[in-house]
Each structure stands twice: as structure tokens, then as C-alpha cells.
């Protein structure tokens, strides 16, 4: 088992390396970069001192060197102007657009992104699993039809539209400003009990909005899976043994129907990050989604590169978690490893 985990971590490291190269190539594909674009603008306005400063930055970050050298410097296996200083050393680079280190710009946004998305994931499962079980066991009844209808509505309504509607009515009916993740007065305050409470209050709407589409999709899939499993002979065996219906359902068919969802955890995390960009923009949530969008538009290369690497690492960790959970849940996979 330990050998398996070790091997997985090694492959993960190799995968990350390949991803970093791909990310860098993609960022570098459009001609120019943030600084050369900026210099052109500055030259047009004739601001000589700023041009000099930008040229200094170009030298400092080696943007005049060949792309492969820039890549090696970025990941930290080749010395730059200040020695080895790249991702491997924990230096995430400089955001030209904000004129600050990437770490300072991204800062809280990383953890808030994780928080919002994990809350959304928990919400999805808490709502979808009971709804799907009800729907599957009461197949073709009125209740099933209601759950199905709500599910389709959830699938069909775009998240950002729902966000706008909630934004409007929350303000109108409750006088609430639900934009952002805490009251605007608290934005630059240090963390306090009041700030956490404000954060929790502000989490409700984003969770609902981001989670709704996923919930609807999960209800549909879980219901279909469960219906398949309910028709399997071992479900009949459990009943023939005298097991009460709820116990029989949860122990056998429900557990069998979980596998595809566990296998999906790895995909869920990055999907939620990229899928919530629009909602984050509308609700002005300080998550990494809008930051990534800006960085890509303005070719702020270190910023974009870091966020993409962050999402990639999230994916790989998610995959590892789902694989290990599958091994723990399913003896067939566990035995396959031996």
C-alpha cells in the first residue's frame, strides 16, 4: 500500500512538471508580454522614466532571454538575476499588473476559493444524495417528478443569472448586500469573530448559486446509478435475509452506487474553480477565478502561471484523494493492487 502511494506521488510530481511546461507554453503563445505591451503604451505617451523602470523589470525577470530559459528560471532550476528563485523555492513571481509579488495579490483569495468551493461540494452532496435516494426508491411517483423537475430547473438556470436575481431580491427584501465575502467595512480589517460571522453569512448565497447546477446533475446521475443497483440480485438477497428496507438500501445498493462519485472528486475541484468565475464576477467574490481571467487578458505571465499551477495541483490532489478513497471503499480495487 505504501509502495502504491509512493509511486503515485512520484507520478504526480512528473505530471506537474509536464503541466508546468504546457502552462508556460500556452501563456507564451500570444506575441509579446505584459511589459513589452506596457512599454509600447508608455513610449506613445513619452513617459521616459516609466519606460526605464519597465526595462529594468524586463532585465530583472529575464524576459529578454529565450523562452526555455525563462521557463527554467520560473520553475527554479536555473539561476536568474537574484539566483535560484522559482516555484521550487516557493517564489511565485511578480505580478506586473498589480506591481506586487503574486503571493501578496493572491493571498487570501486562494483560501477563500478553497473555502467557497468545498462548501459548495458539501452542499451538493448533502442535498443531492438524500434527494436521489428518495427519487430512486419512489420511482415514477409524484415526489420523484417534483425532485426531477426541480433538478431540471437547477440544471437549466445559468448560475450568474440566479446570482443576479438573488442579489437583487436579497437587497430589496432583506436590505442585505450579499456581494463580496464580508461586509465592505471589514475588508481590510484583521480576522476577528465578527469578520468570521460576516463571512459565514455571506457564504450562503454563493454556495447555493455555485452548488445548484452540480446538485441537479448529481441527483440525475445518482438516481440512475441507484436504480441500476436496486435491480441487482444482491439487493434481493439482502431483502430475503430479512434486512429492514432502509438498512438494506444503505448497506448494499447505495454503497455500490457511490463509486462513480468518488472517482469524480478529482474533477470536481478544478471544475468548481473555473465554473464559478462568472458567479464570482457577478457577486464580486474575492476568489482566484476573476484574478486568473484578468491575468490572462493582460498577459501577466507569472500571475496566470501560478494560478493555473494551483488549479492543476488541486486536480492532482483531488485525483489522489479519490483513488485512495476508492481503494478504501472497494475491495475489488484493493485486491487488484496486490
Amino acid at each position: 500500500m505504501i509502495a502504491v502511494i509512493l509511486r503515485r506521488i512520484l507520478t504526480m510530481a512528473a505530471t506537474l512538471l509536464v503541466i508546468s511546461a504546457l502552462v508556460f507554453i500556452i501563456i507564451k503563445l500570444p506575441p509579446g508580454d505584459y511589459l513589452t505591451n506596457r512599454i509600447m503604451e508608455l513610449r506613445a505617451t513619452g513617459d521616459a522614466s516609466s519606460v526605464a523602470k519597465a526595462e529594468l523589470l524586463i532585465k530583472q525577470y529575464g524576459l529578454d532571454r529565450p523562452v526555455w530559459q525563462q521557463y527554467l528560471m520560473w520553475i527554479g532550476v536555473m539561476p536568474g538575476s537574484v539566483g535560484f528563485s522559482g516555484l521550487l523555492q516557493g517564489d511565485w513571481g511578480w505580478s506586473f499588473e498589480y506591481d506586487k509579488p503574486v503571493a501578496d495579490v493572491v493571498g487570501d483569495a486562494l483560501w477563500l476559493t478553497l473555502l467557497i468551493n468545498l462548501t459548495a461540494v458539501v452542499f451538493v452532496h448533502l442535498v443531492a444524495i438524500p434527494a436521489a435516494i428518495y427519487s430512486a426508491t419512489h420511482r415514477n411517483t409524484f415526489g420523484d417528478a417534483v425532485v426531477t423537475l426541480l433538478g431540471y430547473v437547477g440544471l437549466a438556470v445559468p448560475g450568474f443569472l440566479l446570482a443576479l436575481i438573488l442579489l437583487f431580491y436579497a437587497n430589496r427584501w432583506f436590505g442585505l448586500s450579499i456581494g463580496g465575502l464580508y461586509d465592505s467595512a471589514l475588508t481590510n480589517q484583521p480576522w476577528s469573530w465578527e469578520k468570521i460571522r460576516s463571512l459565514l453569512g455571506h457564504l450562503i448565497v454563493p454556495t447555493l448559486v455555485i452548488g445548484l447546477g452540480g446538485t441537479a446533475a448529481m441527483i440525475r446521475r445518482m438516481r440512475a446509478n441507484l436504480l441500476d443497483e436496486l435491480a441487482k440480485p444482491y439487493t434481493v438477497t439482502a431483502r430475503a435475509k430479512g434486512l429492514p428496507p432502509v438498512q438494506a438500501l444503505l448497506k448494499y445498493p447505495f454503497r455500490m452506487s457511490l463509486n462513480p462519485f468518488v472517482a469524480d472528486i478529482g474533477n470536481l475541484l478544478p471544475h468548481l474553480v473555473s465554473g464559478s468565475v462568472l458567479v464570482s464576477l457577478v457577486l464580486s467574490l474575492p476568489t482566484v477565478g476573476p484574478l486568473l481571467l484578468d491575468a490572462l487578458r493582460s498577459q501577466d505571465q507569472f500571475m496566470a502561471g501560478f494560478i493555473l499551477m494551483f488549479v492543476a495541483s488541486l486536480t492532482l490532489v483531488g485525483m489522489l484523494i479519490s483513488d485512495l478513497t476508492l481503494v478504501w471503499l472497494d475491495p475489488r480495487i484493493r485486491m487488484g493492487l496486490r
Binding site: 431483502r239 435475509k241 430479512g242 448497506k251 448494499y252 455500490m256 496486490r338
Partner: protein
């Protein structure tokens, strides 16, 4: 002898479009304490529905519309048909007083839970045993049903066990609370003959020990003749005959049972005797077409071996090798049938796949003669390979899985002709001829497979194989997925087609009676090797090798005069190190094939030199 369970005027109806369908029309029967009642009938006769009704585990679309199921356990009499389905009274009966075992021991056990957990569960829910107590009693139960290492078995998963052991686990699970009645729904149909005999012996022994009654649902008259005390015959939802085994089997009164007896291949059939199908089918087979005779056999398998590598998950472990087929030689004369017999895992399917060129042998040759002299099948390429694909066709075991449900029968039959470039006009005509050849109406060409019964689907499968006028058909268990009542139709059809079209057959099966009915020469495989080969008459009348003899001894015969010797089948006969001398083989020893009479070869232990000397 008192009655344990009385079914009175039981009717069961399924909700269906356009109108409800009554599966059981007023069934009455009695199960006596300590005796086995065999419920016999073909699929759709209502026998499984009866079993489900007794436990009240009918599918949601079915309902008991009238009648009683009186269960006299202890002093009180309970009408099971009146109990609420999920009520506590019904749950207390399920698994505790009435238990059930099913046909498919793999799918009836959850792959995610250990055997110990699933067996002990009944103890935990019914008598509130804690886990430790449940484990102790489960271990006892596993020992009683013949698990070699019951303590270890507690923590094994179903997929780690063979089919026989899985069914033993199911039996342990059903019997752990010593129920008064065991309902066994086709408990041995999915098993090999030797395993079947062992399971039947086990059930008989356990019945003697515990005095439980058994309701045995089966379509196999051989099983009935060997373990039942009483017999009830169901036909289309009605009881047509019932009584003690002797009376019913010796003098079957109802035409259906009489017909059933003559529809199943038996070993005591006269040479040339044909099976009589229950519902004869009219096939129009075109007049005999004479092919130029071949100088040698049409198919020769020469010393073929195949090894599979099991990938190992550990970092520093060598992969494991499995010798699926070792040094197998076969020879099939044109126009004849070669039968390949063996239990699951014997390598017979691997051999047929190598002949089809779906797998490449590690060593050895497969020679096929299409009239222009024998050529190595695995050396063919390009046009020659394309032509070979046309001359050798395959008929699959499962007529449900082997026909694409989204294609009409016409598309199914035309596809091979399209691939092999038959003109469109000729295809149409050929489709109609093919349907006539297998005894189906040409009007069925526009329909989809789901509109046909299992037997009809298998005919479509055969028609598809014949579409491109092959010379050799490989038949992989062609009737084992079919109801007994239609097996005879299919087997007779195959015989007639062979005679008319000059086809050669390789038939692979674990059913010895089917092989006996169909084959001219027979090869018996065990653990990847041929252990005995002989002309049909010699093999089944004078079997020599201990494995062949064990296989034959394990086949339950429908006649009451040849009961199974349960003591003899208990031993594990597919372990070459336990065969008696001179047949015994040491691990990794190949032994030698020797002719004991013309055409009859048997594998002996010892190296070739030793035998020659």
C-alpha cells in the same frame, strides 16, 4: 410427516401494458416437513414467481391477487400472503424461518462486503448477536458447508472464490439460522457438473442433519431425479402434475412432462436417435450441396500453448504466469463434429479463440484446409486472412448479449455479407433463405431482437454465422443459456444444417450430454491439457481417465435407475496430483498421451521415455 407450507389457489398478476398479465393462475401445492419438493417448469412457467411470493420479495410490478400461503411453523399458522410486505412479522420469517438461495452466486453476493459480514448479518438482525458471536457461528456454518479454511473465509470477498465456494457461502448464509424451509431457485444451473453434484450432495446432507424442507426450483430433470422426494410440474402458470417422485417420473401423466423427458439429451439414447422438441420448428434447408472432399482434416491444432501474464501491483514482484493452454492438439475431419469438454477454467474457450485468431498462441500451429491444402492460420495476412474469416464463423453462448438490440434482424444478417462484399440484390434474397433455413418467418426480418424469444434469437445467431457460407462453425456453449424445452430444437437444427451444408463443427461445452448428442469425436480438457480423446461411442461407454470418469459420474441422470453416487463426487477431481496412478501428474509434469485402442488416447503420468521403455 406434516405439511409445513400450503399454497392455496395462489394468483399473481403483473402490471403490464396493454392489460395486466397473470403469471400464476390459482396454484395449490404442499411442502412437507423434512422433504424436498421439486418445482419443475420452463422459463415463464411461474416457478420463480412462486418462490418470490413465498418470501414476499416479488418485484414492485407484481402483486398477489388472491389465494393463501399458509406457513405452519411451530404451533401457529400464518398466512404469508396476508402479512404486510415490510412488516416486522414478515421480516422475522425472511432469512430466519424461510431462507432462499439463488442461481447466480456471484451477483447475489455483494462484492464490497466480506463473506463473513454477509453471512453473519442474518444473526445480527434476527437474534441480535454481536459481531464476535456472529463470527464464531459464521465460522461454524462455513465449516459445515465444506469451506477448507473457515477462519480465513470470514474475511474473503466473493470475487476471490470459485463459483462452487460462492454457492456454498450462499447456502451457509441461508442456513445459519436453521430455517424450516429453504427455497432454492435453480441453485446449480450456473455451475459445472462436478460442482453441481457436490452442491446437491451438500444440500441433501444438510437436509438430513437439520430436517428442513426444501423447495427446489429447477428445469433439470436429472437434478429432480436425484434429490427430490416430491415433484410438481408447472406449465404456463398452472400446476399440471404433482406427486411423489417415483410416481411422477416413472409414469409421467401429463403430455408436457412426457415431452420434456424426450427433449433433453441423455446418455442412454440409441445411436441415431433424435431428440423430440416440445414445440417442433419447421426449417427449410436447401438441398445438399456437395463440396470436393478434402484429403486431410479441415482443421488441425498442433501442440498449441498459451500463457497469460497476471500483472502484479507490487513494485518489486514478478508477474505471475498462468498456463491457460498447454500443448493441445486437435484434429477435425471435414463434415464432422469435434466436441471439446471441460469445466470452467480448463482452457477450452482459449483454444476456440486461438482458432478464431482472436488470440495468438505462444507456440504450436493451427492448420486450416479450405480445399487448397492446409495453411497455418496465424501465418495468414491480407486477402488470405479475410477469406479465412469468412470460412470460419462463431455462434455465441448468450443469444441476448450477442445480438445488437439497435439493429433489425435484416441488418444483423446482412452485416457479414456487406463486409464480405455480397451484392445488394443477392443479400436480400439470402436473408430470406437464411430465415427459412433456421425455421423463422421472413416477416421477422424487419423486427428487432427483443421481439424474439431466447431460442429464436439463437436461431438468428446461427443464421448470421451461416450468412457468408462458412465451412467451419465454432459453437461456444450453443444451448447452455437456453431453456431445456428449446435446446432440442437448436441441437436438431444444427445437426440438420450440418448434414445439408456439409459443415464442420467445433462444439465447446461443459454439458456432457449435449456433447454426446452432437459430437463424433470428443476431447476432454482439464487445466489446459487434453486428458482423453476418443470417438464418441468409446469415450462415454468406456471412459478411462479418472477426470473423464469423474465428469461422467457427476452428470445427474433423469432416469431413477442411475442415481448419483454422492460419495464419489465429493473428491476434487481436477487436481492432477490426486489422480490415481498411472494417471497421476506431479506439478508441472506434462505426462504422455498414449493410444489404448484405435483413436482412443489417454494421458498417463511419467515422461515419454519411461512409457516407451
Amino acid at each position: 410427516m406434516s405439511t409445513l407450507l400450503s399454497i392455496r389457489d395462489l394468483a399473481i398478476t403483473f402490471r403490464a401494458e396493454p392489460k395486466p398479465f397473470e403469471a400464476l393462475h390459482g396454484l395449490s401445492l404442499d411442502v412437507t416437513r423434512g422433504r424436498t419438493l421439486a418445482l419443475v417448469g420452463e422459463s415463464g412457467s411461474g416457478k420463480s414467481v412462486t418462490a418470490q411470493a413465498i418470501l414476499r420479495i416479488l418485484p414492485p410490478s407484481a402483486a398477489i391477487t388472491r389465494g393463501q400461503i399458509l406457513f405452519r411453523d411451530g404451533a401457529a399458522e400464518v398466512d404469508i400472503a396476508r402479512l404486510p410486505v415490510e412488516g416486522s412479522a414478515m421480516r422475522a420469517i425472511r432469512g430466519q424461518r424461510i431462507a432462499m438461495i439463488f442461481q447466480e452466486p456471484m451477483t447475489c453476493l455483494s462484492p464490497l462486503h466480506t463473506i463473513g459480514d454477509q453471512i453473519g448479518e442474518a444473526l445480527r438482525i434476527h437474534i441480535g448477536a454481536d459481531r464476535r458471536e456472529a463470527d464464531v457461528r459464521t465460522q461454524e456454518a462455513l465449516a459445515r458447508v465444506g469451506f477448507p479454511d473457515p477462519k480465513r473465509a470470514l474475511r474473503t470477498y466473493p470475487f476471490e472464490l470459485s463459483g462452487g465456494l460462492r454457492q456454498r457461502a450462499m447456502i451457509a448464509m441461508a442456513l445459519i439460522l436453521k430455517p424450516a424451509l429453504l427455497v432454492a431457485d435453480e441453485p446449480t444451473t450456473a455451475l459445472d457438473v462436478t460442482t453441481q453434484a457436490q452442491i446437491l450432495a451438500l444440500l441433501t446432507r444438510l437436509q438430513e442433519e437439520t430436517g428442513m424442507a426444501i423447495l427446489l426450483i429447477t428445469h433439470d430433470l436429472g437434478v429432480v431425479a436425484n434429490v427430490a422426494h416430491d415433484v410438481a410440474v408447472l406449465y404456463r402458470g398452472r400446476l399440471v402434475e404433482s406427486g411423489p417422485r417415483e410416481a411422477v417420473m416413472r409414469a409421467p401423466g401429463h403430455a408436457y412432462l412426457r415431452a420434456l423427458v424426450h427433449a433433453v439429451p441423455r446418455f442412454d439414447m440409441a445411436p441415431g436417435e433424435r431428440l423430440t422438441p416440445i414445440r417442433p420448428a419447421q426449417a427449410e434447408i436447401p438441398p445438399v450441396r456437395v463440396r470436393a472432399p478434402l484429403a486431410g482434416p479441415i482443421l488441425q491444432v498442433e501442440r498449441v500453448s498459451k500463457t497469460f501474464t497476471l500483472r502484479s501491483g507490487r513494485l518489486w514482484q514478478k508477474p505471475r504466469l498462468v498456463h491457460a493452454v498447454s500443448d493441445v492438439s486437435l484434429s477435425l475431419a471435414a463434415g464432422q463434429t469435434l466436441g471439446l469438454v471441460g469445466e470452467s477454467g480448463s482452457g477450452k474457450t482459449t483454444v476456440s479463440k486461438m482458432i478464431m485468431r482472436a488470440l495468438a498462441p505462444d507456440s504450436g500451429r493451427i492448420l486450416f484446409d479450405d480445399g487448397s491444402g492446409p495453411r497455418d492460420v496465424h501465418g495468414l495476412s491480407g486477402d488470405a486472412l479475410f477469406a479465412y474469416r469468412r470460412t470460419v464463423q462463431f455462434v455465441f453462448q448468450d443469444p441476448y448479449a450477442s445480438l445488437d438490440p439497435r439493429m433489425t434482424v435484416r441488418q444483423i444478417l446482412s452485416e457479414p455479407m456487406e463486409i464480405h462484399g455480397v451484392a445488394v440484390a443477392k443479400r436480400k434474397e439470402r436473408c430470406r433463405a437464411l430465415m427459412a433455413m433456421v425455421g423463422l418467418e421472413a416477416s421477422g426480418l424487419g423486427r428487432y431482437p427483443h421481439a424474439f424469444s431466447g431460442g429464436q434469437r439463437q436461431r438468428i445467431g446461427i443464421a448470421r454465422a451461416l450468412a457468408v457460407e462458412p465451412r467451419l462453425l465454432v459453437l461456444d456453449e450453443p444451448v447452455s443459456a437456453l431453456d431445456v424445452s428449446v435446446q432440442a430444437q437448436i441441437l436438431n437444427l444444427l445437426k440438420d444444417l450440418q448434414a445439408a451444408l456439409g459443415l464442420s463443427y467445433l462444439i465447446v461445452s461443459h454439458n456432457l450430454a449435449v456433447i454426446d448428442y452432437m459430437a463424433d469425436t470428443i476431447s476432454v480438457m482439464c487445466r489446459g491439457r487434453i486428458v482423453e480423446e476418443a470417438p464418441r461411442a468409446a469415450l462415454f461407454r468406456r471412459p478411462v481417465h479418472p477426470y473423464t470418469r469423474a465428469l461422467l459420474a457427476a452428470v445427474p441422470d433423469p432416469s431413477l435407475d442411475h442415481p448419483l453416487d454422492f460419495a464419489a463426487v465429493a473428491a476434487d477431481r481436477n487436481d492432477p496430483t490426486r489422480w490415481e496412478a498411472p494417471y497421476r501428474l506431479q506439478p508441472d509434469e506434462a505426462g504422455t498421451m498414449r493410444a489404448i485402442e484405435p483413436g482412443h488416447q489417454v494421458r498417463f503420468g511419467g515422461a515419454p521415455e519411461a512409457v516407451a521403455a
